[in-house]
Symmetry: C2
Subunit: 340 residues, 2 copies
DNA sequence: TCGAATATTTGAATCGTTTCAACAGAATAG
DNA sequence: CTATTCTGTTGAAACGATTCAAATATTCGA
């Protein structure tokens, strides 16, 4: 390890006895340079252990070959799946995908977004935690292409890929009603989260037409297993006449937590006493202590589609028109909500 | 949107009527500039919507304020948790954490590593998929600091943080033996994965002292729920005298998949007919159809510790000595392996 | 009020690429 | 044999921030 500073393209040029431009051409336009020259340069590169300095390259290019993805919760397998789909697609297109985890915290989200802006990323996929319009129009005005994932945008703002959460909520609750349930508990994070609000709206639509039914909302700050467990205990503590006979959880993590509370801590029978349905249909839903009914979302597909839309906007800025790709959620019935 | 090119520090300087150096100072050494100047400059920055170009900054600095993390499988909640721990710690230290998902594919791993090298990242946390020594010494020679996570390194190579997988394997299988089991099936990904090999080694140590016990290895390419299910079906298809009376899965995802196969597809009773224990103790283990015994690893702590070690090496290159931080895994007994 | 000491500000040089007009040599055509 | 392409190669000029010695302001003590 001769020197403590990395070799530059200059060093390579010197060693190979060519001009820097030639080295650059070997790297970026191999067809322009003669075979023997390429050979000389390659040997010098190998000998020095030269590695292209991406900062310099980007500086010249004006933007990076990287796109960002900010998700609400990287611990949630749904987002893990979505990230995988996006990553695969991005790599296929020769882009790197950088992942940031906002933890549903707008400060962290903002921090990541400005980091991505400073990096002059080509674009960013965003699963926004709070109000969208102002944040998105802010970053877009500054030139960062954006696609919303797992959340629909007003059509003229930017592209978005997600599922019809209102339909999902309606489907879930209609199913519970079909099973003869009347008193529905809706468990979600804060309603400030659009996804939660939409699923709740769908749920309300479902009961709207059916007399004698009601819905009670339980909010939690987080949407993970732990939060679910605590809401589950809250529900257990209710007076008998207050107790719901069905629970619709805004995601599977919450549902699993609720299951834990109901089945272990108390002796509630699921689905006999209380039916439960979750959302996302993560891999574990099927293996839950009572196999969990859920609303399936095509997570990986959402990620991949989002990357495609982003790429279209990046590559064809003029002809590009914003699109909303809305996948339909699918009801998956398992034991946790099947009465017979 | 006047021009289509982003404003630079020059534009800010011009608008504010100061020199570029001053703008830079406002950004980086506020204490050196007079309050009113700061005020002028800030106003110009706001008016132009100026955003620092990180590529230029990095180019000058020679390295970025970013560290990378390459994990085997971002869909696995264990890694999600680890990433969260690392991310929190990194942000606390003012660094951004970039996540790459290798999917246990050495090509992808290499791609991410060279991307990180090109970005001149300060360092990288690596959960390596294949042979370590050559890969790690390669990137380290080129100057990229490395810490291995979820995997121990030879002490002189680099720092590493993980758990004692041999002990974990031994603990898991000893527990099964204590429950009176004799014929153990070990289910893991390929043994080329060090974690799997170690857990298996521990398992073998455990049966070594006990006469009349045996272990049979089932390998799978992936280590997710789907792979577990297929192995589960493989086990179901065995002749009765071939069937194990206990299964030790190298992670909880596999265990959950196996559970699905055994409990749904067939009518095997768990734990009466076959006991199961997994590894990682992810959140879902407790809520599995039969609550899953597991070996708990402090995932978030591993991530946080790794960031600390990496930072120490980056900040004190001379005084730094490589360390191996090995956490002890913890046996968590639940219904899936409890005989009485 | 003056000079010394201190506080601010300046702007050219630098980081490592890529780009591109200019150039040299070789091949081809007339 | 000269004009005309073609092929490769060259090297200086960006890109946009940071740095730092030098220049300029300001403050303070006598």
């Amino acid at each position: 390890m001769s020197s403590n500073t990395r070799p530059s393209i200059q060093d390579v040029a010197r060693l190979a006895g060519v001009a820097v431009g030639t080295v650059s051409n070997v790297l970026n336009n191999p067809e322009r340079v003669r075979a023997e020259t390429t050979e000389k340069v390659s040997r010098a590169i190998a000998q020095l252990g030269f590695i292209r300095n991406d900062a310099a390259r980007q500086l010249k290019a004006g933007k990076s070959q990287t796109i960002g993805l900010v998700v609400l919760d990287s611990t949630n397998p749904f987002f893990g799946e979505l990230a995988r789909g996006a990553e695969d697609q991005a790599m296929k297109e020769g882009l790197a995908l950088i992942l940031g985890n906002s933890g549903n915290d707008e400060q962290r989200e903002a921090k990541y977004l400005s980091l991505f802006e400073e990096q002059r990323m080509s674009g960013v996929l965003l699963s926004p935690s709070g109000m969208t319009a102002s944040v998105v129009s802010g970053i877009r005005n500054r030139g960062l292409k954006t696609v919303l994932v797992d959340r629909m945008a007003e059509i003229d703002l930017c592209c978005s890929v997600g599922v019809d959460d209102v339909a999902g909520g309606r489907t879930a609750v209609s199913h519970l009603l079909n099973q003869g349930r009347k008193k529905i508990a809706f468990v979600g994070g804060t309603v400030a989260t659009k996804q939660v609000a939409d699923r709740l709206a769908g749920a309300k639509e479902a009961i709207a037409g059916v007399p004698g039914t009601q819905i009670k909302v339980f909010a939690s700050s987080d949407m993970n297993v732990l939060a679910g467990r605590s809401i589950g205990e809250q529900i257990l503590a209710l007076a008998p006449e207050e107790k719901p006979d069905a629970i619709f959880a805004a995601n599977d993590l919450l549902a699993v937590g609720i299951l834990q509370a109901l089945v272990f801590r108390a002796e509630v029978r699921v689905p006999e006493d209380i039916a439960i349905i979750g959302y996302d249909d993560i891999d574990f839903a099927e293996a839950a202590i009572v196999p969990l009914s859920s609303i399936r979302q095509p997570a990986a597909t959402i990620g991949a589609t989002a990357v495609e839309l982003l790429l279209d906007e990046i590559e064809n800025p003029e002809t590009h028109v914003h699109r909303r790709v809305m996948y339909q959620p699918e009801l998956v019935i398992r034991a946790s909500s099947k009465t017979n």
